[in-house]
């Protein structure tokens, strides 16, 4: 029985072994296929919203001419084109995107991929806002960083007319949007595409005085960026700014109290934002998330914040800490005799400190100066009178004339490029025609080559120059 099985099995194994191996002739046949390479040196592109994105890949084939291809361009698995070259008007929101380009052979389905990184910027991402007025009608123009000038983007973007005399424009400071004040309304616009996001009814629904504003309002966030302030017609309005610009809330009613604020808000420390009461010529302050406007307490040192005794004329900012939790502010003050440079600064522990307090002697025409801009890297200040620009040295306590525009020109506004303090932007009116000049500032604080670097013309009468990315 067992033996029978053994023989049976052995025979099967022998038969199998006999046919298991056979000699291979080792003749492999290779068919040469067309190898495709995408040989683009540039694989990252920056494009503004609504501009065209054009990518023309260079394909290198090892066997050109014998193949046809299927192309596809995808963003996040969504096919956006199936042509060899990409030509697309960008409708994406600002941000960074990865575009995958796929070239597939129709003969053998072999494919090759290339990845492109696309950075979409707002159509109006950065530059300088020029608030100006033509024939009694306000508008905001933009000089983009690439020097392209947009005459009236908000009317183009929203396809409507914004009437009223322009008063002021302030960037939100957290990105997202900017406020535009006219004598008849307040608007909020998306800073990337300039689409309108709201007006007085959602921004300042509790304005104490009926519009029009009597003077240009001001806006700024506090240093924590959670409180926002507007001073309009001497009254203070506060609102929470939201964790993002989307959940922003309307401003409060006028903060109660007997005061008449100078149109300026001075976020100084993480907790405290200061204001100046021109009615009794002393500083006032408000803590973070407080809605109590109180008199600033007495200070010793260079001056008493509770008793300044001078009228505020102008202000600009000085140095700040890395994350701008503390900011230094310069003030131009005036009494019956003269004008003074004063400042609020901060100590190493983030507490408010009265800074300089000096009479602006040896400063030609200082009594009639209308515009001021301070440097955040040099102890210097620029002021203008008529068509003349003066440079005031805070340490030497004297000023000198550094530039004169042609006769008939009147300087309307000057702004320091805060990120570097190396560029001064000046808006000038020649009658009703506005012009904007960029001046480069050299190491001594003077204008490089004693003249302007760039000049832009064609604006209406300029009211204000404002930086697009900062709110001061």
């Amino acid at each position: 029985m067992h033996l029978k099985h053994f023989f049976k099995l052995s025979s099967i194994i022998v038969i199998m072994l006999t046919f298991a191996c056979s000699k291979d002739d080792q003749r492999f046949k290779y068919a040469q296929i067309n190898d495709i390479q995408i040989a683009d040196a540039t694989t990252s592109f920056t494009v503004a919203q609504r501009d065209s994105l054009i990518i023309t890949p260079t394909l290198i084939e090892t066997m050109p001419g014998g193949d046809s291809f299927t192309y596809s361009w995808t963003i996040d698995s969504e096919v956006i084109a199936d042509s060899k070259n990409l030509r697309l008007q960008v409708t994406l929101s600002p941000g960074t995107y990865t575009v995958i380009y796929k070239v597939k052979s129709n003969i053998n389905d072999v494919y090759t991929l290339q990845r492109y990184v696309i950075t979409v910027t707002g159509i109006y991402p950065d530059g300088w806002y020029v608030v100006n007025s033509k024939d009694g009608k306000g508008k905001v123009s933009l000089i983009r960083t690439d020097d392209v000038v947009f005459d009236n983007p908000m009317e183009v973007a929203n396809n409507k007319t914004y009437s009223g005399e322009p008063l002021a424009l302030y960037n939100f400071g957290k990105g997202g949007f900017f406020y535009y004040f006219t004598d008849q309304n307040v608007y909020r616009f998306n800073m990337n595409d300039w689409l309108e996001l709201g007006d007085k009814s959602t921004i300042l629904p509790h304005l104490a005085t009926q519009l029009p504003f009597k003077s240009a309002p001001v806006f700024i966030l506090n240093t924590s960026k959670f409180d926002q302030f507007i001073v309009a017609d001497g009254g203070l309005y506060a609102g929470i700014s939201g964790s993002t610009s989307d959940d922003i809330k309307p401003f409060s009613q006028r903060i109660p109290g007997d005061y008449d604020l100078f149109p300026g808000v001075f976020p100084n420390t993480y907790n405290l934002t200061y204001f100046y009461n021109n009615a009794n010529m002393r500083f006032m302050r408000m803590g973070i998330f407080s809605r109590i406007l109180e008199d600033a307490p007495q200070t010793t040192g260079s001056f008493d914040m509770a008793n300044v005794g001078r009228k505020m004329i102008a202000y600009d900012r000085g140095i700040s800490t890395l994350f701008e939790e503390e900011i230094e502010w310069y003030f131009i003050m005036e009494d019956d005799n003269d004008r003074y440079l004063m400042s609020l600064t901060y100590d190493a522990f983030g507490n408010t400190l009265p800074g300089v307090n000096q009479e602006m002697a040896n400063s030609p025409e200082i009594g009639s100066a209308t515009n001021f801009a301070t440097s955040s890297i040099l102890k210097q200040l620029y002021y203008t009178v008529g068509n003349r620009v003066y440079l005031y040295d805070m340490l030497a306590k004297s000023a000198r004339l550094i530039y004169t525009f042609p006769a008939g020109y009147v300087i309307k506004d000057i702004e320091m490029l805060r990120s570097s303090s190396k560029q001064l932007v000046i808006g000038v009116n020649n009658g009703a025609a506005g012009e904007v000049y960029y001046f480069s500032i050299n190491g001594q604080g003077e204008f490089s080559n004693s003249t302007y670097e760039k000049k832009f013309t064609g604006f209406g009468e300029i009211v204000q120059i404002a930086p697009a990315r900062k709110n001061l």
Binding site: H206, A238, I240, Q253, P256, F289, S290
Partner: protein, 253 residues
Amino acid sequence: MEINHTRIMKYVLYATMVFSLFSCKKEAVETYQGKDGVSFFAYTYQQLHTTATRSYSFAFQSTVKTRDTLYIPLRITGKLSDRPRAVLLKTAEGTTATAGIDFELKEVAIPPGVSIFNYPLVLINSVGMASNVYKIVLEPAETKDFTLGTLGQTPANSVNQGTEENFRYLTIEVSSMYTRPAYWDVLDADFGEFSAEKYKFMVKVLGITDFSYENIGFDGFINFPVTLRNALAAYEAANGPLLDENGNEISFP
């Protein structure tokens, strides 16, 4: 030997096949038999199953009401029904309010197919409520459709989002007095001390009756006092100081 083995294996195989034919039999599944139940339920953190009470004041309503309905959430245990069923609550020990004068409990019909139901407790703005806080201790009453339901905890899940308690007794305090709401603890610093007159002033100025943080949000929490201070200043300019029920001058910090 071999033959024997084969034969035994055969028998075993036949036997197995025969057993297999009769081994399984469908058995009827036992289901819950008996009257369906009803109980109160609330999130555990609300502590309504232990010491906490629900409170209602006719004073805190935006309009003057003679009657109002307070909805009491009930959970039904047992099978869902495709016909309406009757549910009723009754008072238990500790009740100081008077049925028919301060409140009404009626048998109501639960619509078909529901497992959770809001029982309408009718409160009556009685004369006594102007000077008293009455207690109504409720428990489910036996009806033709329901008895007392299952009690205990329902674990948190994606629907209820927090552990819930199913319980027998629910205490409700009702009055028409301005009693300081528990949420005022949060408002003390920014709105100042509670008083009935202050509360009335706030309702008039802001047009809402619920000033809990959940309702007014951070924006209301810091900006409503601005509105109230302005309104109070306007009132004082026209009428002099606004006094509360104890003769103290009302202010917002």
